[in-house]
Structures are given as structure tokens and as C-alpha cells.
Amino acid sequence: MCPSLDVIAADPSADQAFLEALADWCDRYTPLVALDGTDGLFLDITGCAHLHGGEKALVSDVLSRLFSLGVEARATVSSSAGLSWAAARYGKVAVIAPDDADWVLAPLPVTALRLPAETAAALERVGLKEVGDLLEAPRAPLARRFGSFLLLRLDQARGLEDEPLSPRLPVPSFSSERRLAEPLQDEEYIVELTRHLAKDVRSSLERHGEGGRLFELLLFRVDGRVFRVRAHAAVPLNDADRIAALFRERLQAVHDDLDAGYGFEILRLAVIRSERLDPAQEDFSGVADESQPLAAFIDKVAARFGPDCLMQAALFESHLPERAGGFAPLRDVAAAMRPSALEGKAIPENRPLRIFAHPERVEATAEVPEGAPRSFNWRKTHYRVARAEGPERIAAEWWIDGEAHPTRDYFRVEDQEGRRFWLFREGLYGREVSTARWFMHGVFA
């Protein structure tokens, strides 16, 4: 029918991603950006407009920048979200003063009120085609016939009813940004600028007696892409050098994903999560707290290898060896420097120094079925057992594994050359299994 027609399949997820990228880009104007369906954005510019030279200048700045990005957009500034929505889609005015709401709304079609399709169709059937018709009509019959939602939308558009916007991202409690005349590409300069931003943030953090635990660096690239780099701190932090050091490691870690392109024009440092930080007196050595250097080390490692990389040995309440001990990500730095809480805890004796994550199958021969092994094959090597201690019988935890899980008999054996191993036989003869399987679970010192 139409051979020259180029058909491109719709890709809603890509559209959504693009809209979100635009929302990120709009962060430059205000931190309160909300998505509106699939084709719109709400920006709450309360208190931000003067930073961009007034509302008119802001709208023209948004539109001209979007135009240069290749996006055709329309925008309206007004005192309510509903009115902005209606005017941006159906009207021609860029900035609407609060008093002009009715005047602007009156000539618009009723669909401008964000109504469901059937309500709009019903309104048009009875001849109420424009918003102005609704404004003049008595409210009670309207509500009776078309539901209260219509009047809610109408009041929201007129600014009589409040409409909360839900911003995409939590608004950082502290942030500081720098707009650059000349785009920045070099990582060194980014870190240096981050240090300056951290100094700005520090003063407001100090005023509130807080320190940041999670920082975010927003990098606005000249072509509209926005990069977010997050860095965790092990302890509440307000020191500019430490914050900059965090991002130095972090930027190196994400180096491949961070394409500077033609450079970044805006840098913003935001504190996403902060905690109380009591100022500490520095002693003569210049270090306020013994845990500070450790925290700095942890931050550096975590920035590079992820927050769960550094782990702390932990003991758990369990009989099964693989559940009784393990490593948990280090969360509380101060605990690593405090006196031990394990002092009084009973630690089982005769546990191996190293344990295999998955017990390895061995072929073992025992003198008597229930007895210690005499020899075994492990990793294609034959070992003769010189001495053995055991068994230590450890039953499965039925409340986790179920009642059918076999019991284990652990033996501590030493081979003829002096290597000490921890072997276990799975299953009790006669009661649980007919042929037992042997496993290597750990090695002793």
C-alpha cells in the first residue's frame, strides 16, 4: 500500500528510559522532578526560578536546550500542576500568573483536565466541550452525573485543590553544585572540584551536627547525559579530603562506564543519607579517634570493590559447621576496635582453620563401618591415616533442613606425613543409609 513507509516497532521501555534520562537532565533546574505518564515531566520549581533568571527565562532555557538535544517539547509554568499540564498540551501561554487560571482554562477542551476517556466522551455528548462550560455549570449536578473526580480535576487545575507531586528520587538533605563555563573532562579535576563541593557541603553538615554516610556525585555531560556516582562511607563523614578520596577511588572503579565525551558542565555533590556526628576533640597526634584510619581504609576498599568486599569473621548459633561460622560484611567500624563481645562465648574446640565451601567427596575405607577411616582418596591422591580422633556426631538441623537430612560423623585424622584433615561420614548405617558417603570438609593447622 505504501512501499516507502518505514516501519519501526514501538519500544516502550526505551521510551521510558529516555524519559528518565531527561528527568535526570532536568535535575539541573530542581531536585523535585516527577515523571508524568509516558510523555511528560513535572518540575517543581518552587524557589528555584530566580536562580535561572526568572520563570520566563527558565522556560526558554529548558526549551532551547531540549531543542538543541533534538527533543521537541512544550512547557508551561503555572501555580498548579494540573494547569501546567493542560496549558502545555493544549494552550499557548508559557507562564501563567495565579489569577489568570480561569481565563487560560476556559477555551481548552475538557480532555485537558486529565479525565478518563469515558468521562470526557460523556461530557462531550452532553455538549460540555470546553472547560469554560464546566466552570459556568452548577457543581452539584455535575458531581451527581459525572462523579466527584471531575470536580477534583477541575479544582486541581484551578489551583483550589492541592496536588502532591511524587518526585522520582529522594531529595538530598544537603547538596552543593558548581556550573562550569568550560566543560571538564579530566578525572583529576573532577576529584579536585568534588573536594571544593565537599567543603561547601561540610559547612551545612556541621551546622546540623551531621555527617554523610552516602554521597552522590551528579555529573551532567554537555550532551545531556547525567551520570550518578555513589560512594558509601563507613562512618559519618564531613571531611572534604576524605570525601574527595572516596570519589577518587570510586571514579577509578567506574572509569570504564564514565564516558566523559565532550566534558561535564555541571557537577553536584549531594548527601543522600546522613547520620549524627558528634564533633570529637583531636589529640596531640592529630587523630581524633582510633577507628578513623580504619574507616578511611574501609572506605577506600569499599569504593573500589563494593561495600560487601571487606568482611569480618562472625560466629553464629548453629550446630552445623558451615552455618556456625562465616564472614559477614563489615558494617560497624567502631565494633572492630571495641573489646570483644565473644569473650564469654563457648567456641567449639577442634575446628579446622580452613573449611571448604562445598565438602569434597572422598573415597574412604574404614575398618569397621561406624569407625574412623584407615585410608582415603582425595583429589586423586591416596592418603593413609596414621591417627584419628572421633567421631563427633553432628545431627542436621531439622527445623531448617527437614527431618530426613542425614547425620554426620566427623573425624579428625592425621595422615602419615602429618597433614591433619577433617572428614565426615554422611548418614548412619542401618538407620539412615545403607552405604555411607565420605566428605572432606576442612584442613587443620
Binding site: P293, M311, A324, A336, P348, L353, F444
Partner: protein
């Protein structure tokens, strides 16, 4: 005659350089006035006042260490085969426990950092917290990092050596990776000395290789003693405290070939193994001359090539 004198001077200056590298005084050798060493070696006089040691309590071992374990700098421990990793890990953990106890006695609750190449953990098993706790280590202050590549492990080690919080840093790697060669080990050693942190490089299933470590030991398994009974006898057939067979591969003192000792987790210290058990392997040929002879090169140069190294000959044509 003049040529002879020149030669002697060259030899003397070389000996002096070696002495400086090894941080020891050469008898009868006049030191040149070179206080600021461009290579970063510390002068000996400064060293003598600063050198901090931790006596182990086994006379033979302390003799090799010249007084005790160094409290800063690098020590290398290796084992020959993966299956011996338990013994070597035990020796490393025991040294770490000694370092940790020493810090505790001085009033610092210092953690131990164990950096491990992920491959090493897969092959020889992960450190096990209850085992470490019953071995005498402070399990709560045992920090563990497992990273995929040796390069990452080296980066963490270097970062850790620059913060003065750790009682000891253990770097566990597998084999002899090219990225931990002499220059890298030198870098780590200098860092460890500058930071005042002992670094234990635990080379799992690795060959001996030139490094800047103060000492290098090979750990072999040794059969343990038997459990003592209250009446003084031992429980027949039981497995007592872990024992180690140590081969000193690099040291500055004259080293007997084999040192046997056992670790008492309860006392948190090493004990020498009684004579009856180690007599067969001990050699007691201390020289009358008080000057230290050269360190024994335990099977280093001139030994027979081990079997099974040459996998295939190069093609003839």
C-alpha cells in the same frame, strides 16, 4: 699491584653494598658515609635503634630471626603443595596471633587483615571463623578480603600498609604470579617498613622466588604430639597441638635446615618440640667462630632439577 688493589676495593664496596641491603654490620668493614641512601634503605645506625622485634620463645627459631619476629616489614611463608596449605595457614595464623597479642599487650585492640586471592580460597578452603577463634586469634578482629586478581590483592595490601591500624597484614596468593615479582615485593616491603606494619606473604603452592622479604620459610606438615594427661603421660593415639616443620630458605643468620615447633593455642605461643621427636632431624654443628657464616641455602642453587617440570621438549624441526 695496582690492579690487585683496585680489585680489593671493588670487592669491599660490593660487600658493603650487600651489608647495607641486608641491614647488618660487616666486621672489619669501614662504612662509607652514605647516610641518605638513594635506594631507600635505612642506615644501620638508625636501624639499630629502631629495630623492633617480637621474641617467639623457641631458641632455635629466635636464633634464625636474630632475636625475634620483625614488627615491621615483610616475611614470606610458602608451602610446596596445596594439600599442605593447612599447615602453612596454621603457621601464618599463629604468627598473626602473636602479633595481635603483642599489640594487645601495648593496649591496642588491632585487627588482622587477611587478603586472599579468590583462587587460593577455592583451592585450599576459606578461613573458618570458629577454627580461627579456637586457634587463639581474636575472631572479631579478623578482617577478610577475597579478590579475584593478584593485582587487586596487591592494591589492598599496599593500602592497608599505609594505615597504622592492623596488627598484621596477610597476603595470600597462589603460585608465583608474574605481577608479584621482585620489584613489587620490594615495594611492599618498603611500604610495610614505612608503615610499621608486619606483612606476611603467604605463597600457597609456590616455588621459591627472589623477594625482598626479611625471611622466607617453607612450612611442611609435621605429625602432632599426643594429648597430655593430668598424670604426665600422654593419651595414646590422640592428636595434640599442631606441629610445624620449618625450612628456613632465606635469613640473615646461620640457619639449621629444619626447625620443629608446635603451637599451643591455649597459651598462644610456640613451643619447641622435645628432643626425642626432633633429634633425628636436628643438626647441631654450630661453628666456634662467633661471626655469622653465610646463611644456608636450603636446596637452592646446584640442586637437582625436580622431576616432572619439563612437560615437553621443543620441536626439533
Amino acid at each position: 699491584m695496582a690492579g690487585n688493589g683496585m680489585q680489593r676495593q671493588t670487592v669491599l664496596s660490593l660487600r658493603e653494598t650487600i651489608a647495607r641491603i641486608e641491614d647488618r654490620r660487616l666486621p672489619g668493614c669501614v662504612r662509607a658515609a652514605s647516610a641518605a641512601d638513594p635506594a631507600g634503605f635505612r642506615g644501620e645506625r638508625e636501624e639499630a635503634s629502631r629495630r623492633k622485634l617480637l621474641p617467639v620463645g623457641v631458641p632455635q627459631f629466635d636464633g634464625v630471626l636474630k632475636g625475634g619476629l620483625p614488627l615491621e616489614g615483610m616475611t614470606e611463608i610458602r608451602n610446596a603443595e596445596t594439600r599442605d596449605a593447612g599447615a602453612a595457614a596454621g603457621f601464618v595464623a599463629a604468627l598473626a596471633a602473636l602479633y595481635q597479642r603483642e599489640k594487645k599487650e601495648r593496649g591496642h585492640l588491632a585487627p588482622i587483615l587477611w587478603i586472599s586471592q579468590a583462587l587460593a580460597c577455592q583451592e585450599a578452603g576459606q578461613p573458618y571463623a570458629p577454627g580461627l577463634a579456637s586457634y587463639g586469634l581474636d575472631a572479631e578482629r579478623f578482617l577478610f578480603v577475597s579478590v579475584r586478581t593478584v593485582k587487586d590483592a596487591l592494591w589492598i595490601a599496599e593500602t592497608a600498609l599505609s594505615v597504622p591500624v592492623f596488627a598484621a597484614v596477610v597476603l595470600e596468593i597462589r603460585g608465583n604470579p608474574a605481577c608479584l615479582a621482585l620489584s613489587e615485593s620490594r615495594r611492599l616491603h618498603v611500604r610495610a617498613r614505612a608503615g610499621g606494619v608486619p606483612l606476611l606473604v603467604f605463597r600457597q603452592a609456590g616455588e621459591e622466588e627472589a623477594s625482598s622479604a626479611f625471611f622466607r620459610f617453607q612450612v611442611k606438615p609435621a605429625s602432632a604430639g599426643e594429648r597430655p594427661l593430668p598424670d604426665g603421660s600422654v593419651l595414646c593415639g590422640s592428636i595434640g597441638h599442631p606441629s610445624f616443620h620449618l625450612l628456613v630458605e632465606k635469613s640473615r643468620a646461620y640457619a639449621p635446615l629444619d626447625i620443629f615447633m608446635e603451637w599451643n593455642a591455649h597459651d598462644r605461643r610456640f613451643y619447641p618440640i622435645d628432643e626425642r621427636r626432633s633429634a633425628a632431624l636436628q643438626t647441631d654443628d654450630k661453628p666456634a667462630n662467633p661471626v655469622d657464616p653465610l646463611s644456608a641455602s636450603a636446596g637452592r642453587s646446584g640442586r637437582a632439577q625436580p622431576l616432572g617440570r619439563l612437560v615437553a621438549f621443543a620441536r626439533a624441526s
